[in-house]
């Protein structure tokens, strides 16, 4: 059976929205992009609604209502993908090619290779190293921070594969991260635990979410802002617990300061 043109187009809009949300676009941009797409293809009676976990689209065309809603579960910030999707959206709006071509180009973007695991591990390590130096750590602190950064990446990947929730993942990651310098200090190394932990915690702190919450709120997406604010608070709480547990234990039982 031949799929109807409007439905086919609706599917494309949904997939576009899904990938935009998943690569870290603001909700404002997602709704704006889909609206522009629909206008470009001549649909005027439309409704677009998006929050980080769901997109609902409706097109009314020749007295028919075409509706589609999708649930979005995981998202990981991928800024290169976001840039390419944005460019594709502009190009499609300008040239309005047929939908199969659009789908092919979308698939090309989403199947583009990511950085390898090795690069990702190294990047986590170097973020921790240079933020430790940034906050005033010594060279020895920086070397240990590299290990802490690797620990964060290791915990995140392993737990991510097991499909655990965001709270538990962050508790475990920060616990493992804080244990590295604590253990080494217990073994007698003269290091600054605070500098190392602050350096490595930058990998986990939801700084991007904090700024996005306000940006969403200003754009009038209160539902999005609230759900992200909850995420920020949960992650912050998880980090505090994850660092407090090993540090408190080390102070009480081992006498490490």
């Amino acid at each position: 059976m031949k799929i109807e043109k409007t439905e086919h187009f609706l599917n494309f809009c949904c997939e576009m929205g899904r990938h935009l949300v998943q690569s870290g676009a603001e909700i404002y941009r997602v709704e704006d992009s889909i609206t522009r797409l629909m206008h470009a293809y001549g649909y005027t009676d439309i409704e677009v609604f998006a929050i980080p976990s769901c997109i609902i689209l409706n097109i009314m065309h020749e007295d028919h209502n075409y509706t589609k809603s999708i649930r979005i579960r995981s998202s990981a910030i991928a800024l290169d993908k976001l840039d390419k999707l944005n460019n594709l959206c502009r190009r499609v709006c300008r040239e309005t090619p047929d939908i199969d071509t659009c789908f092919a180009q979308l698939r090309e973007i989403t199947s583009a290779p990511l950085y390898s695991e090795l690069v990702s591990y190294l990047a986590h390590g170097f973020v921790a190293v240079f933020f430790t130096l940034f906050w005033g750590g010594t060279a020895l602190d920086a070397v240990i921070a590299f290990a802490s950064g690797l620990a964060v990446k290791f915990a995140n990947t392993t737990l991510g594969r097991m499909n655990t929730n965001i709270f538990f993942t962050n508790v475990c990651s920060s616990m493992l991260m804080a244990s590295v310098p604590l253990a080494l200090q217990y073994l007698g190394l003269n290091i600054h635990i605070d500098m190392i932990i602050i350096g490595a915690i930058m990998l986990l702190v939801p700084g991007i979410a904090i700024t996005n919450v306000m940006r969403d709120m200003i754009a009038g997406d209160f539902l999005t802002a609230m759900s992200k604010l909850t995420e920020v608070l949960i992650i912050s709480l998880a980090l505090a617990i994850g660092i407090a547990l090993p540090m408190g234990a080390a102070r009480m039982f081992l006498g490490v300061m």
Binding site: G24, A25, E26, R29, I77, A78, L79, D80, K81, L82, D83, N86, N87, R90, L114, Y115, V119, S120, L122, A123, H124, F126, V127, F130, F131, L133, F134, W135, D194, I197, I198, I201, M202, L203, V205, G207, I208, I210, T211, V213, M214, R215, M217, I218, A219, S236, L239, A240, I243, A244, M247, G248, R251
Partner: protein, 148 residues
């Protein structure tokens, strides 16, 4: 000169973050990292201000404005430059020391540090949203002109 060394560290740390957040174009990686270094430079240069939150506020305004300019110039979403550039300002240290005072049971310092951290986070959020709303206001007027 040593005072500005953290800017260099911020530059390299932001460049590493580009690899975590999957920025692939070399030009983007450079500009994102530069944005991060500039954010800390503004923070350092405004040390004559008595309130720390005000310094965070100004630094965020500088980063957001730069991000919007770069976005217009390179026809890319401003989020890319903002997300990376703002990272050095994120109060990770504040969060740590707040929690540190909590475990040591020093509640006076815990409250003080906690509020200071919250103020910094608030200043960053306020700065970013100020620039965004201003830019949206201006671009909306441009679009309205184009249509009429």
């Amino acid at each position: 000169m040593l005072r500005f060394l953290p800017c260099l560290y911020a530059f390299i740390a932001c460049a590493s973050f580009c690899y975590i957040f999957q920025v692939r174009k070399p030009r983007f990686i450079f500009l994102c990292s530069l944005n991060g270094a500039i954010s800390w430079l503004v923070y350092l240069l405004t040390d004559f201000l008595p309130v720390e939150a005000a310094r965070y506020f100004l630094a965020t305004i500088a980063v957001s404005a730069l991000a919007e300019i770069l976005a217009r110039a390179l026809k890319a979403p401003a989020t890319i430059f903002l997300v990376i550039g703002i990272i050095p300002l994120v109060p990770g240290g504040g969060l740590y020391y707040t929690m540190d005072y909590l475990i040591s049971g020093d509640f006076a310092m815990f409250t003080a540090k906690g509020l200071q951290t919250a103020a910094a986070a608030g200043a960053i959020a306020a700065g970013a949203s100020m620039v965004t709303s201003l830019v949206r206001m201006l671009t909306w007027r441009k679009q309205a002109h184009a249509q009429s």
